[in-house]
């Protein structure tokens, strides 16, 4: 790891960052850049940028909304016959989700230059848009308020980490360069002749630690809210589900080409429906919503990075983030697994160790 510093001038952090990102494209060190940009006032979207001038002008790497996870965007770009190098600006949760997708062979690690970035939290994109892109008076999303990973996990992918937690503009933007960073990108960073960022790095880590400590309380309080235990309570929480499957679409790690719940597996015959309805007198329609959420939980709880995109996408406002946070904390604990921590760490789902389920 090499610690450096990008100076921030009058134009502010976001512009300084955008200029840095534009430089990667300008020099040809990368072939494309996935970054957030403003499409219309208050409307943020990811773009796959080729033109460095556009990046310098319109990129919004610090936009406080996450309309979709950049992990999904990157996966879409480097999944089929991957070639070239694509850099991507990734919030901590996006970077971790991308690592999980890479383990599931949904993105080619060798074609991605990860640019992790500190996250100050995000707002509901609709509220942000309605406010014309002005966040004053908006409250961050619940997932962000209790997020314990405001800074990227620097070892997860061989890239660059950009940090600003605890640093004001005059102190600049902290840059950490991974030892195995793509050499062409590393050369660009070298050329910039950035100052050492050791002091800023220390200050930032302290601030990150303090922030995590502060949030730990909020996280514990959030999870300790009782009331969801047993299948009946679980079903009650999900009673309003309309079966739209938006949560699966929004989930950055849910990767199936076609969800089993969209296949004909659950296309019952009339007689089967009637039999099921007869069992308890009535059958909730659309049917199998509990099974759907349980299946998603079964497939995803170990890889759940707690981004809250499922809840953000839910038209019925189901407490999906809470349900997944409760389940995943337990399952991840059992296997000592931290999703997105390292590409080398095998998915517990695909490995077997004799003692893995014994109490520790």
């Amino acid at each position: 790891m090499k610690d450096l510093l990008i100076a921030v001038g009058q134009e502010g952090k976001e512009k300084a960052l955008s200029r840095f990102l534009a430089r990667l494209l300008e020099t040809g060190a990368v072939d494309g850049l996935v970054v957030a940009a403003e499409a219309a006032p208050g409307v943020i979207t990811h773009v796959l940028a080729k033109d460095p001038r556009l990046v310098e002008r319109a990129a919004r790497p610090l936009a406080p909304v996450m309309p979709s996870s950049a992990a999904q965007v990157v996966s879409e770009v480097v999944r089929r016959r991957p070639s070239g190098k694509v850099a991507a600006v990734l919030r901590p949760c996006e970077g971790r989700a991308l690592v999980e997708l890479m383990k599931l062979k949904q993105a080619a690690p060798e074609n991605v230059v990860a640019i992790g970035i500190d996250c100050a939290g995000t707002y509901d994109p609709v509220a942000y848009r309605d406010a014309g892109g002005n966040a004053d008076g908006l409250e961050p999303r619940e997932a962000c308020r209790v997020c314990l990973n405001p800074a990227p996990l620097e070892d997860a992918l061989p890239g660059i980490t950009l940090g600003f937690i605890g640093l004001d503009d005059s102190e600049g933007i902290f840059v950490s360069v991974h030892d195995r960073l793509d050499p062409a990108v590393a050369a660009v960073v070298d050329e910039l002749g950035l100052a050492s960022g050791e002091g800023a790095g220390r200050k930032r880590s302290k601030a990150v630690q303090a922030l995590v400590q502060e949030r730990q309380g909020a996280y514990d309080a959030f999870l300790s809210i009782a009331g969801i235990s047993g299948i009946e309570a679980f079903a009650r929480e999900l009673a309003a589900c309309t079966g739209c499957h938006n949560c699966r679409v929004a989930c950055p790690v849910c990767y199936c080409k076609e969800c089993v719940f969209d296949t004909d597996t659950f296309e019952y015959e009339t007689g089967q429906f009637l039999r099921k309805a007869g069992r308890k007198g009535a059958l909730k329609m659309p049917s199998e919503t509990v099974l759907y959420h349980l299946t998603r939980m079964n497939h995803m709880s170990l890889s759940c990075v707690g981004c809250g995109q499922c809840e953000q996408a839910c038209p019925a406002d189901l407490p999906l983030f809470r349900l997944f946070a409760m389940a995943s904390r337990r399952t991840q604990e059992i296997f000592g697994y931290v999703p997105g921590r390292s590409l080398a760490e095998e998915l517990p789902f695909t490995t077997f160790r004799e003692q893995e389920l014994e109490p520790r």
Partner: protein, 648 residues
């Protein structure tokens, strides 16, 4: 759909608990069931006839047999169905015995309810079953035998004699295994080499046996009938094609190193032929002991060799062989010195193990067959034999019985007595296990000849001057015993040969908790492994003596020959299959497969199935998140319908 349901009473096994007529009555009206009947023994000839007749009368297209475990009679009923024109893979078994009447004997009402549900679920499953046909596999009629001790040699000879080629791989430079180290064999006291050498030379010259010594199996891929084996032939540094085995090199070699064949009781040159009758009769250089390799300053062997066979530049060779069947005959080792940890073994030179005693007693051994103790070459006048060292020892060793020690200890004590008539052998034993033709008589003879058997354990052995003091107890007289012995011989536990675990991994074979290879069934399939096409012979499976080993080796050969008797093999078609439209190429199925049957087609980003490697276990189908992998005749929709049928 027209399904017939056949409910078996299995005498009282099922009928004594489950209300069979009620099951028949309940299932008769179930959708798709054309006819339901019961019979006392469905597997009997009249029972089978009943099924056939009903299939024809009712024009059935599928059948459900409610009876015992499919492990017992699935094949029977599948062939009954097929003979009456129903596809055998549209025959389902509802196990209402092992999974119902037996475990629920005390709750007949509940058992009947469960039986009805199990039958309903089977009807639902058969509704979704496709008509499949068995897969066909070609057979390479060539066998690999791993290990050329008496087990491996016997198996190789039997297979080769029947007309098939055999690749016989031996880790050591020579064949014969531990039997080559033995002096005499029980219960006839005939010379081991004398009965062994006809076999070793037959193996050595057999036109259909390809003998690869100084070689080890590195990896195995493929499946029954079609294995590909990679074998590493270690460098011998001698060109065996040129070498005449004259032995001049071994005479002149200036390096001396402890001989493994002599169990360290003698030294041998760094270039050596382990024993006079060795097959092949060619030397190898042990690089770690050779001056040329350690200091670069010798080349005596190269100079004296009349044919220029020494080749210091020789490299390991990796060979690839295609075979249809494999016999694992890797034999045993004795519990290593370092692990015995008692009786001064490995500390006092005159405390030796059974194989060391064999060498002391062997005419070609370090003492030319005279019983002389290792420390000072004196003829021992009192020798204590201790049985069950490491065996039958829950705390410090292994709980199992090593099976051969009672007999060879009796043999050792007798041979000692024959050679040292004024000497006194003592045997400490837990009990004497002499089951076998002529065995009990053999042990009896030992006591008649003056061997003193003391029932009890030895507490400890320590050196006192040139004596070994043995403290023990004779539980029959209840007295403590103290013997000032000249030598102590330990019957140490028989353990799997070193490297057996690694080989098991390469072959994907199961081993038991001690590392012996697991047979498919302890009684009914004792030479077959759980992997089709791989068989086990000799001590690789469990400790056994020479007669048992030879018997098992012949039996393994018979299994191989039965396999080779068919042109093609059939394989169950109920394997995994991939819907490529649904597959995301995540590779979870590849990780889930224990049989290497799943791979990723990286270019197309889809997972594929190697049908003949697939055992149909379903692990991949379960791991696949969206059902892109499905198990033929166990589709998710079938499973959901089965659950529905059980839940009611």
């Amino acid at each position: 759909m027209r399904t017939g349901v056949f409910v078996c009473w299995c005498g009282l096994n099922i009928g004594g608990v489950v209300d069979v007529p009620r099951v028949v009555q309940e299932i008769s009206g179930y959708p798709g069931v054309a006819r339901a009947v019961d019979y006392r023994y469905m597997c009997s000839d009249p029972g089978q006839q009943l099924i056939k007749d009903t299939i024809r009368e009712e024009r059935l297209d599928s059948v459900v047999i409610a009876a015992c475990s499919p492990g017992m009679h699935e094949a029977t009923f599948q062939s009954v169905a097929e003979s009456a024109g129903v596809n055998p893979y549209r025959c389902e078994i509802a196990n209402i015995r092992e999974q119902c009447s037996w475990p629920h004997q005390n709750e007949p009402g509940e058992a009947t309810r469960k039986a009805i549900e199990l039958v309903r679920a089977a009807v639902e499953k058969v509704r979704g079953d496709e008509a499949l046909s068995a897969l066909s596999i070609s057979v390479t009629r060539r066998a690999l035998v791993i290990g050329a001790g008496i087990a491996g040699m016997q198996a190789a000879l039997d297979i080769a004699e029947a007309g098939h080629e055999v690749v016989l791989v031996e880790r050591l430079p020579h064949i014969g295994g531990h039997m080559a180290q033995l002096s005499e064999t029980f219960p006839t006291l005939d010379c081991s080499q004398c009965i062994l050498t006809p076999k070793t030379s037959e193996v050595g010259r057999h036109p259909r046996i390809r003998l690869l010594t100084n070689s080890e199996v590195e990896s195995v891929s493929g499946y029954v009938g079609n294995f590909t084996v990679r074998i590493r032939r270690r460098a011998t540094y001698v060109n065996w094609d040129l070498c005449t085995g004259c032995g001049l090199c071994t005479e002149k070699c200036p390096s001396k190193t402890p001989s493994a064949f002599e169990r360290g009781l003698a030294k041998e040159p760094a270039i050596t032929i382990a024993f006079p009758q060795a097959v092949p009769h060619k030397p190898v250089i042990r690089a770690e002991a050779c001056r040329h390799f350690t200091s670069g300053r010798c080349g005596v062997c190269e100079k004296v060799c009349p044919v220029g066979a020494i080749d210091f530049e020789q490299q390991d060779l990796v060979l690839e062989e295609k075979v249809g069947a494999i016999v694992v005959a890797t034999g045993y080792d004795l519990h290593p010195k370092a692990k015995v940890g008692e009786y001064g073994y490995g500390v006092y030179p005159d405390v030796i193990d059974g194989l060391e005693f064999e060498r002391l007693n062997s005419a070609s051994g370090p003492t030319q067959g005279e019983i002389r103790r290792p420390s000072d070459g004196k003829v021992p006048k009192e020798v204590v034999f201790i049985q069950c060292v490491g065996s039958r020892d829950q705390e410090n060793g292994y709980p199992y019985c090593s099976k051969i020690c009672c007999m060879y200890t009796a043999k050792h004590a007798r041979l000692y007595k024959h050679k040292v008539p004024d000497g006194q052998p003592y045997v400490f034993y837990m009990d004497v296990r002499a089951g076998g033709k002529g065995y009990e008589e053999f042990v009896q003879q030992a006591t008649d000849e003056g061997v003193l058997y003391l029932r009890g354990r030895v507490a400890r052995v320590f050196q006192d001057g040139d004596k070994l003091v043995v403290f023990g107890v004779d539980t029959l007289s209840g007295k403590k015993v103290e013997i000032h012995a000249d030598m102590v011989v330990l019957a140490t536990a028989v353990v799997p040969a070193s490297g057996a675990k690694e080989l098991a991994r390469a072959l994907k074979m199961a081993t038991d908790q001690y590392g012996f290879f697991s047979e498919a069934h302890p009684k009914l399939r004792p030479v077959e492994s759980l992997t089709r096409g791989i068989y086990i012979a000799g001590c690789a499976q469990a400790p056994k003596d020479i007669p048992d080993t030879v018997t098992q080796a012949g039996s393994a050969a018979a299994k191989v020959l039965a396999l080779f008797s068919a042109e093609r093999l059939s394989h169950s078609p109920t394997v995994a299959a991939v819907d490529e439209e649904l597959c995301s190429g995540c590779g979870v199925c590849v990780e889930a497969c224990a049989y290497d049957a799943r791979t990723l087609d990286v270019r197309r980003r889809v997972a594929v199935v190697n049908d003949v490697l697939c055992e149909g276990c379903g692990a991949c189908a379960v791991a696949c998140p969206n059902g892109a992998t499905r198990q033929k005749n166990m589709a998710r929709s079938q499973v959901l319908s089965m659950i529905d049928a059980v839940v009611g």
